[in-house]
Symmetry: C2
Subunit: 162 residues, 2 copies
DNA sequence: TGGACATACCTTGATATCAAGATATTTGCC
DNA sequence: GGCAAATATCTTGATATCAAGGTATGTCCA
C-alpha cells in the first residue's frame, strides 16, 4: 500500500464510476521520474551542472568527434523548445564549456561544439552519473530491470513514430 | 531500435568502459514521463487547468467531504516545496476555485478548501482526464499494464520509506 | 532567375519551480 | 508560567521552461 495506492483508494470511494487503474501506472511513472531526477541532480551539482547543462554536454560528447551538433539537432535529442535550447547554449557558452561556430554549409545556423574544458568536465561527470544510476536501479533484480526496460520500451514505442 | 537505444549505442562506442544499461531504463522513464505529461496537459487545458492546478484540486476532491487540507498536507501529497505550494494556492484562490480558511485548531496555518465552482470543475476535469489516461496506456495489453505497474511499484518502494 | 514558402535560430513575455530565509504560532520542558 | 525549539506558511531572488512571433537565410519551382 504505497502513496499511489492510497490515491487510488480515495478515488474509488469518491468516484466509483471511474476506472483509475491507468492513473496508478501513470502516477507511478511521474513519481518515479521525480525521485530519480532529484537523486541524479545531486551528482550533477558536484560538477557544477544541472539536468539541462548535463543533457547538452552529454549529447555532444556521445556524438563522437568532432563533438559538434546544430541547435536543432540538440533540440530534437533533448525534447525542449528552441527558446529553451538558446538559453541553455548561452549559459554553456558563457561558462566556456561549448563554442558557437557558424555552420559552414548553412548560413542560417550554427554548430555547437564541446570546448576542451567542456570535454574534460562531461567525461568526468558522466562517469559519476553512471555510478549513481547503477545505485538507483539496484532495488530491482537484474531480471526485473530487464522486464521493466522492455515494458517501458514498448510503452514508448506507441508514441515515438506518431 | 528506439531513441534511447541510439543513445546507448553512441555511449558504447565512445565510452566502452561504462555500463550504460541503467541509463537506458532511467532514460525511458524520463522520456515516457515527458510524453505522458504533454498529452495530459492538453486535456487539462480544456478546463483551464495545468498540471499544477489540476494536481491541487484533484488532491482536495479525492479527499472527500469537506474537501479541505492544509498547505502542508498538499505539499506532501504533491512533492513540491512550500514556495511552490503558496504560489499555486494564490493562483487558485484568485480564480475562485479554492478558499483559504484559518485553521481553527492551529493558528499558524490555514486550511485550503474547494469552492463549489472548484468542485464542479475538478469533477468534470477528472472524468476527461481518466479517459485520456486510458487512451495513453492502450498501447500495452492488460497483462503488460499489470506487469509494468508491479515493477514500477517495487522500484518506487525502494525510495518511499527512506 | 526571382518570388513564395520553408527553415534555423533568437527574442520576448508569462509562468513555474526551487532554495534559503523571514515571521508567527505552537509545543515541550523546567 | 515562561522560554527554547519546532513547526507552518509566506517571501524573495534566481533560473528554467514554454509559446508565439521576429529575422535572416536557404530551397524550389514557374
Amino acid at each position: 500500500m504505497d502513496h499511489v495506492d492510497n490515491i487510488l483508494k480515495q478515488w474509488q470511494q469518491e468516484r466509483p464510476d471511474l476506472d483509475v487503474v491507468p492513473m496508478g501506472t501513470i502516477g507511478r511513472v511521474k513519481r518515479l521520474n521525480h525521485t530519480l531526477m532529484r537523486a541524479m541532480e545531486k551528482t550533477w551539482a558536484k560538477y557544477g551542472l544541472t539536468d539541462a547543462s548535463f543533457d547538452v554536454l552529454a549529447t555532444l560528447r556521445r556524438e563522437g568527434a568532432p563533438y559538434a551538433l546544430s541547435p536543432g539537432d540538440l533540440m530534437a535529442s533533448t525534447m525542449v523548445t528552441s527558446g529553451t535550447m538558446t538559453h541553455r547554449i548561452n549559459q554553456l557558452e558563457k561558462a566556456g564549456l561549448i563554442e558557437r561556430v557558424k555552420n559552414p554549409t548553412d548560413g542560417r545556423g550554427f554548430l555547437i561544439s564541446l570546448s576542451p574544458p567542456g570535454f574534460d568536465l562531461i567525461d568526468d561527470a558522466v562517469t559519476a552519473h553512471v555510478e549513481t544510476q547503477a545505485q538507483l536501479v539496484s532495488g530491482l533484480t537484474e531480471e526485473q530491470q530487464e522486464q521493466l526496460d522492455a515494458l517501458l520500451k514498448q510503452f514508448l514505442a506507441g508514441f515515438e513514430q506518431e
